[in-house]
């Protein structure tokens, strides 16, 4: 059976059609469809185990979908084209950083991996951008969770990607660190990057996004423009959607 593939649309950063993912008998994604325009910010909410991280894993070409197709920056994720990898950056609750290297050594290493010209200069520039230049020669192992997350941002943007996937970036951060992270994410969004963020934090998620989605049991239960939603009533709406999907 051949799968129908969405034709690349230059206006769309992400096109997902009928994505399914099985882990043995478990169906983590049960047919996800959406399109995200270039420069849009999508906040994806959902309970634990809803399939949010699995979706990000597929869109960043870390794992393959069982069926369905997804185009990221116009490239089919199944082909994991190096050009597609250069277009995406991922920030997760894991930092992807070497604990015994310094921020400069880490970011310069990843810059080389992405084939960035003048890796050292670019590394220093992005470390400065996230406010860690004074600590750029210290070991990453000595960093707080908030500093690690800021350094993760530097790692994710060192190759200047047009699309960012953020997988629960606020996990484990205190109020102060969350505030700094929010400012930096806002700065990334104003740079016209397309951002897909999964989070459990309603206020921070709704504050920055253009689109809102709720994923429950491997399917999108809500897809809405942020303008159309009342932030005050979102928690009730979320609980309703989760309960509805649980009954379905």
């Amino acid at each position: 059976m051949t799968e129908s593939k969405p034709s690349p649309n230059p206006g769309q950063a992400i096109q997902v059609q009928g994505i399914r993912k099985h882990f043995g008998h478990l169906e983590a994604l049960r047919g996800v469809d959406f399109e995200l325009r270039k420069g849009e910010f999508l906040s994806l909410f959902g309970p634990n185990g809803a399939g949010k991280t699995t979706l990000i894993g597929i869109l960043s070409a870390l794992s393959r979908p069982s069926s369905g197709t997804a185009l990221v920056a116009g490239y089919d994720v199944k082909e994991a084209d190096p050009a597609m990898r250069r277009e995406i950056g991922v920030i997760s609750h894991a930092s992807f950083l070497y604990a015994d290297l310094s921020p400069l050594e880490n970011i310069r290493f990843f810059a080389t991996m992405y084939g960035v010209e003048s890796a050292e200069e670019r590394a220093i520039a992005v470390i400065d951008e996230v406010g860690l230049k004074p600590r750029m020669h210290d070991r990453v192992r000595t960093f707080s969770r908030g500093m690690l997350q800021r350094l993760s941002i530097a790692r994710a943007i060192v190759h200047n990607p047009s699309i960012l996937f953020l997988d629960e970036p606020y996990t484990g951060l205190d109020q102060h660190a969350s505030g700094i992270l929010k400012e930096q994410l806002q700065a990334l969004h104003t740079d016209q990057r397309t951002i897909l963020m999964t989070t459990h934090d309603f206020s921070r998620g709704l504050d920055m996004c253009d689109r809102v989605a709720i994923m429950v049991r491997g399917k999108l239960a809500l897809w809405e423009s942020a303008d159309q939603l009342d932030p005050a009533g979102f928690e009730r709406l979320y609980l309703e959607k989760v309960a509805q999907a649980g009954r379905g």
Binding site: P82, Y98, G115
Partner: protein, 226 residues
């Protein structure tokens, strides 16, 4: 090609900088290798047995056992903080990751052996200096095959909860041809024979080196995925 080589070089550089800062790998491998040799020294009566006959076996047991410690650490380091995932997100050919890790493992083992050989010479009272060139060639060929296969299996076992147990279980049966070849060649080199007289063993080790490297390049994509 330039990007590929700079990526391989960056992985080797990263492993070296990490090792220079932590000194965990070299110290644990070297101390373990010395301990293995010491145990054998106290259990073998060198006034009865010929050191050139038993010495090579002890040397290679020490190298392989200590090397396994290093190989176990190799990909565990990449798993900390999800670094391997970070590496997999980059536009890096999976074989570049393999070659980077393999070359750094090979270099660490060769450095450890450079310190181990003089200790072996003292413990077993054998003359390595007069056979140094062929001996270094044998040590290099054996270590190359061990690193090639060990790096592949280390990447495979790093996904398992029982990785410390699984790596030797997978590695030792497969490394037998190289281990036997290296022991036999080392013994004959110490007896003063030239490598040209032992081309069957040299050929065997080189064949397995090529087989292990080729198999690794062909399978590393699948092993590193998911």
């Amino acid at each position: 090609m330039n990007t590929y080589l700079s990526q391989v070089k960056a992985i080797v550089w990263k492993d070296f900088v990490t090792e220079l800062k932590t000194r965990e790998l070299f110290s644990s491998m070297f101390v373990f290798a010395i301990l293995v040799m010491l145990i054998f020294i106290f259990s073998i009566n060198l006034s009865i047995v010929d050191a050139n006959q038993v010495g090579p076996g002890v040397l290679w047991v020490a190298i392989l056992f200590a090397g396994t410690l290093g190989l176990n650490r190799s990909f565990t380091l990449e798993k900390e903080n999800g670094c391997l995932q970070g590496l997999m997100l980059a536009p890096v050919d999976r074989s570049a990751i393999y070659f980077g890790k393999m070359l750094s493992n090979l270099a660490f083992l060769l450095i450890m052996e450079a310190f181990l050989l003089p200790v072996f010479m003292i413990f077993f009272n054998v003359d390595l200096v007069s056979h140094l060139t062929p001996l270094l060639a044998v040590v290099f060929m054996g270590t190359l095959g061990f690193s090639a296969l060990g790096t592949l299996l280390s990447s495979l076992s790093s996904n398992l909860k029982t990785r410390e147990i699984m790596l030797p279980i997978l590695l030792y049966p497969l490394i037998v041809p190289i281990a036997i070849g290296s022991v036999r060649l080392t013994g004959q080199v110490l007896d003063g024979k030239s490598l040209a007289d032992m081309m069957n063993w040299v050929g065997l080790i080189l064949c397995f080196d090529i087989i292990f490297i080729s198999a690794s390049i062909m399978t590393i994509d699948h092993i590193l995925e998911e």
